[in-house]
């Protein structure tokens, strides 16, 4: 497609340089998939050689059924105005990823958060251990197996007088002595 020339050129450059696969998702969106050992090199190449100087985002997705974490590095070129997503997968068991705060200072914040929330280690990461969570003794809370409802039930207590107010529809119905109104049933989880 004519209007996606820049996106295809970008994909070709990165894919050829590192012998990896990727896609043009749509205009201004290109993704590449790489082994974790290649990620920092690709990011450095994109920053220094291709002008992708803005680190827009780093995220982690917990694919529990596949036993992987997916890390997505989103970088942006102010000149080409394209996002490049560098995606990699790491094993959920003893997860470890290369620290890139030498490439972008601000990556330090994302990495500290991922260390706490997903338990991913970044060797050489500088920064106080506790970023958001203080004295946390449970499993990392953003893991899919962490049950927020169970944690809340065990940690907090119901405000006095609100013990019966766990299901609003049923409570209102019980208190007023009437059936759950039709409009509420329509949006019920049971239907």
């Amino acid at each position: 497609m004519n209007e996606l020339i820049n996106e295809n050129n970008l994909l070709k450059k990165v894919a050829t340089a590192y012998n990896i696969k990727g896609n043009v998702i749509r205009d201004r969106r290109v993704e590449v998939f790489a082994n974790k050992e290649l990620v920092s090199s690709i990011l450095l190449y994109a920053k220094l050689q291709l002008g992708y100087v803005h680190l827009a985002h780093i995220t982690c997705i917990d694919w529990i059924e596949e036993g992987d974490f997916e890390l997505v590095y989103t970088i942006w070129s102010p000149v080409e105005r394209i996002h490049l997503f560098v995606k990699t997968r790491i094993n959920r068991v003893n997860p470890e990823m290369e620290n890139i705060d030498g490439i972008w200072d601000q990556a330090n914040t994302y990495e500290r958060e991922m260390r706490e929330m997903f338990g991913i280690q970044f060797p050489g990461l500088i920064g106080e251990h506790e970023f958001i969570l203080e004295d946390w003794d449970q499993i990392p809370p953003m893991l899919k197996e962490f049950d927020t409802h169970k944690y809340a039930s065990e940690t907090f207590f119901t405000r006095p007088g609100r013990e019966d107010a766990q299901d609003v529809r049923e409570t209102l119905s019980k208190r007023s002595g009437t059936d759950v109104p039709d409009f509420a049933k329509k949006y019920s989880r049971e239907t």
Binding site: H54, P78, H83, D105, I132, L133, E134, P141, T148
Partner: protein
């Protein structure tokens, strides 16, 4: 020469000058900051985790709470990411309404900024004026959405309801009023020697480091770099409207204030144009029963320009009726940590809250 002893000072989380519940741990020598470290965690409510237990629409009740002074960009950015996953078109009328909502949100947030920025320099009168006038903008939101602060009005596929009768005229009257008031605001803020001396040359972000540190929005434009998501990656109908992206050189608080001073005028202009050009027609491409609505599996990244800078949402669906992962990145995530820690050394203790206000640090956005 007497060598001053180094002392540790904890500024916040409860401090009248700080921009929310966060703490800045300072190492100081006399009044001068030697080292700064941001400490957050006082507002962590696990929103991103809780969203994974809710359906696509229920997420909105949490999203708008990511940043209290500016909830609408969160709604819009999330809605746009979901629309991309669901391949859902948005009617043109809804796009115009969204632009008006976003610019009104920008203006009401600017009003709070005036209060915070001037207040942290000891100029309290302006804050009382601007917060008072902000209520006229909140009245518009109340008429449109039913809520003054949290709106939950922008949904995937458009907006929840059409604009009420007479609302356009009320918006235009309010714009006329605010425009006149800006003259007074600027006179007591920008013509004031106290503000000038406090703001000029303080809290400097070097131009060559700005992008490296993740600076976005008015602080980036205050270093002379022209960057705005509305221009760089136009969304809704911003590409059909004429507006300027003001930039100033210097990188200090003064430059950032000048950027905002000009931006509020642009917002008024955008709102007038959008009201003038808004077509008749549908305002909502309705989603099915929200309790059962499933979004196709995939990943989407959407970003918009909030008053503090770029807001991005990375949204992942596994094809069910709940988001698999929602990850937000607001301007405060970099401004409140990396940037603040870099620019505070060498500054005076009294300037910490002044600098934080100029960066638009919103603590709940950092820890969510």
């Amino acid at each position: 020469m007497i060598r001053e002893k180094e002392t540790t000072l904890y500024l916040g989380p409860q401090h009248p000058g700080i921009t929310g519940n966060m703490m800045v741990k300072l190492k100081v020598q006399g009044d001068t900051i030697v080292k700064a470290a941001t400490h957050v965690g006082y507002l962590h409510r696990a929103f991103e985790k809780l969203i994974e237990r809710r359906n696509w629409i229920q997420a909105f009740t949490l999203l708008c709470r990511f940043c209290v002074p500016e909830p609408d960009p969160m709604e819009l950015t999330y809605a746009r990411a979901v629309e991309e996953l669901d391949n859902r078109e948005v009617p043109e009328r809804a796009q115009y309404i969204r632009v008006i909502v976003m610019e009104l949100a920008r203006m009401q947030s600017f009003m709070l900024w005036y209060a915070g920025q001037a207040g942290s320099a000891g100029l309290y009168t302006l804050g009382q004026w601007s917060v008072g006038d902000r209520n006229y903008l909140l009245d518009l939101f109340e008429d449109l959405t039913g809520g003054r602060i949290y709106h939950m009005y922008i949904w995937p596929g458009g907006v929840r309801r059409d604009i009420p009768e007479g609302w356009k005229d009320k918006v235009l009257r309010t714009m006329d009023y605010i425009e006149k008031r800006l003259f007074d605001y600027n006179q007591i803020m920008f013509d004031n020697t106290i503000f000038q001396k406090r703001a000029q040359g303080v809290g400097i972000i070097p131009k060559d480091k700005a992008i490296e540190w993740g600076v976005v929005g008015p602080p980036l434009r205050g270093t002379g770099i022209k960057s705005d998501v509305r221009i760089d990656e136009p969304y809704e109908v911003y590409d059909k409207l004429n507006f300027e992206v003001p930039t100033f050189e210097g990188g200090d608080i003064w430059a950032r204030a000048l950027v905002r001073k000009e931006e509020i005028k642009q917002s008024i202009s955008i709102i007038r144009q959008a009201i003038d050009q808004m077509p008749e027609g549908e305002y909502y491409n309705k989603v099915p029963n929200p309790m059962k609505w499933t979004v196709p599996a995939g990943q989407a990244w959407a970003k918009t320009e909030s008053v503090r800078g770029e807001v991005g949402f990375y949204v992942v669906s596994n094809g069910t009726n709940k988001p698999y992962r929602v990850h937000v990145k607001g301007a405060a995530y970099t401004h409140g940590v990396t940037v603040l820690e870099k620019i505070l050394p060498g500054q005076n203790i009294a300037d910490v809250s002044f600098i934080m206000n100029s960066l638009g640090v919103c603590p709940p956005e950092i820890e969510r």
